[in-house]
Symmetry: C2
């Protein structure tokens, strides 16, 4: 290693015990406890800023009085073409949704491509076309981009980063820590469809009907919800780590408890069957077109009715509520009548799901 | 391939002839003609937007009257630690500079990490620390991030995407197409230092003095320049493809000619020697802490004097001017008295330089 001022890290030793985790593991990218641990210890200790909200889907700030949301995500999903979408559509919808979960109207997107040498040009083309289609559907513009190429064997076909900017209207204040005892927890539709679609392709499983990803832009649904209830407390899309991990994150951030009801959680028969076959708990499986909303109880029915009128909210239901009891803990009344704690995922169930 | 609505690309066939380039080549990421060709044919044909300015370093737009610049870049440099910097510092400074080249004051940055399983945790830590140091030095905040992990052999240690938002002050209008006949072309300092530092590490070369990358944030220098001349026409940092490629891009975009003088181009003796040894033309080698400015002739001396007072502009010089002759062509008066055309790089000279 050359002598180098910028490599002088005297006084700053790695906050993750080397004896415990000397190297990055797949599980550090799984969206569960290990991910959280690395993000908190490694990134938050350095990038300290009031704006850096690790448990929110984006940063929110004002420039000259204009309230903006800003979010970034890299997409490394494998396979890059899957039932219900492409890595390109996922990259557009994923960042659109992160902005929407801040209560923002998404406006502009960037796209950064890391291509592996040897990627068929026609695959790239189909991905680019699918991105433009997704952008049009979501009503946003791709305005800036970057392309890098890495040698064969140093990447995996294509990775895409999208970052986005959205505008937050006056009066909107959505944040995980605003979950309040009494709030109703609304889930917008059937869960686990994205993760199970990916797994079924990887495992070569066949079902009666094809399992397709729920990959979709949620900004339109959010606008409808905000129009009937500007005071939505929390919005989150349960991607990596699924519904269970997201509820746990919010419970921890807001220091509240939650009770949910297993029999209310919408799940298609095919996805239920696939989960049993694969030994997966659908509560931990990734979604790419669903959201969780925490709303004041007196507004819950209005929000629910509005959601059910929207193409991406037809199966919306109230799955539970927020409580003063057991802060930081999510419990679930099971279909057989018992109650169990729903913990956060520890490592990761499905690598490279997004 | 499963039957899938989103994979139906009827009517849209790949605009890059498959017979010519069936697959992505390293050269498609080199910043030269092949990169340009792919970007124009592939991305611009789809992502058509007035805001998408392929030859600018970022997009510029207004939200509620606030003028903003937005830029993205992915960094895949190898090695990740090099004389004069780390991939993390490069990622911060690179996007800060892209915003500065739009005439914007950089404010907020995102960071998206793609980690290869097995990356030593301590390497990640040193990169994170170096990013925070670079952010502090540039006066910007890292406000949102994302971490993904890919399996061993499907990435290369670490790739970082940074995207950034900056504010553009009233009266600033910087754009490649504003290069005008008569403009003076100012180069902020010695060239080719980044590319040669990387190559010397890769090739194990030893020199009298260590060759270090010029990786630096240029937003402070740009502010100084704009304070003495708000009417700067063009700013660009000559990264991939070097000074020659950037001048060619601007000449093409503005449909003007340029004449530069070889003997005026600042170059250290060590870098000159390394270039000769490696058979590289310094005009095509990447810089990460230099800029080119096109300024009205009557303001050139004032801008130059202001630049020389700044730590990153001490060697600033006027290297040539813009002409009505030979639009789209850059010519150079050589040290031996001849004149030659300086073409754009075709493929790429140094892979994974940023």
């Amino acid at each position: 290693m050359p002598n180098n001022e910028s490599l002088d890290f005297a006084g700053a030793s790695c906050p993750i015990p080397i004896s415990e985790y000397p190297c990055v593991l797949m599980a550090h990218g799984g969206g569960g406890k290990l991910s959280q641990h690395m993000i908190r210890k490694m990134f938050l200790s350095q990038f300290s800023s009031d704006l850096l909200q690790p448990l929110h889907d984006g940063a929110m700030f004002s420039i000259d009085g204009t309230r903006l949301a800003f979010s970034t995500d890299s997409y490394v999903i494998s396979p890059i073409f899957f039932p219900g979408g492409t890595i390109g559509e996922l990259a557009v919808n994923g960042t659109v949704n992160d902005l929407a979960m801040c209560g923002a109207a998404p406006l502009y997107l960037s796209a950064g491509f890391i291509l592996e040498e040897g990627l068929p040009m026609d695959d790239l083309w189909r991905i680019v076309v699918s991105m433009q289609r997704a952008a049009t559907r979501a009503g946003i513009s791709l305005v800036t981009g970057d392309t890098k190429v890495v040698d064969r064997g140093k990447g995996d076909k294509i990775f895409i980063n999208t970052s986005g900017i959205g505008r937050i209207a006056a009066g909107i204040d959505i944040h995980p820590r605003r979950a309040k005892p009494g709030d109703k927890i609304i889930l917008s539709g059937r869960i686990a469809e994205h993760g199970i679609a990916i797994m079924s392709v990887r495992e070569g499983l066949q079902f009666q009907t094809e399992l397709t990803s729920d990959c979709a832009p949620l900004n339109g649904l959010v606008q409808v919800m905000l129009s009937v209830c500007p005071d939505i407390h929390v919005l989150r899309d349960p991607t990596r780590g699924g519904v269970a991990s997201v509820l746990n994150e919010i419970a921890g951030e807001a220091r509240v408890g939650m009770n949910i009801h297993q029999e209310r959680i919408p799940l298609s028969e095919d996805v239920r069957g696939a989960c049993e076959l694969l030994g997966l708990d659908p509560l931990y499986v990734a979604n790419e077109g669903k959201l969780l909303a925490f709303v004041p109880p007196e507004k819950a029915d209005r929000v629910l009715m509005a959601m059910r009128q929207h193409e991406f909210g037809t199966h919306a239901v109230i799955i539970g509520d927020v409580t003063n009891d057991h802060p930081g803990i999510v419990t679930m009344r099971t279909t057989i009548g018992g109650t169990r704690v729903v913990d956060m995922i520890s490592g990761e169930q499905l690598p490279r799901i997004c």
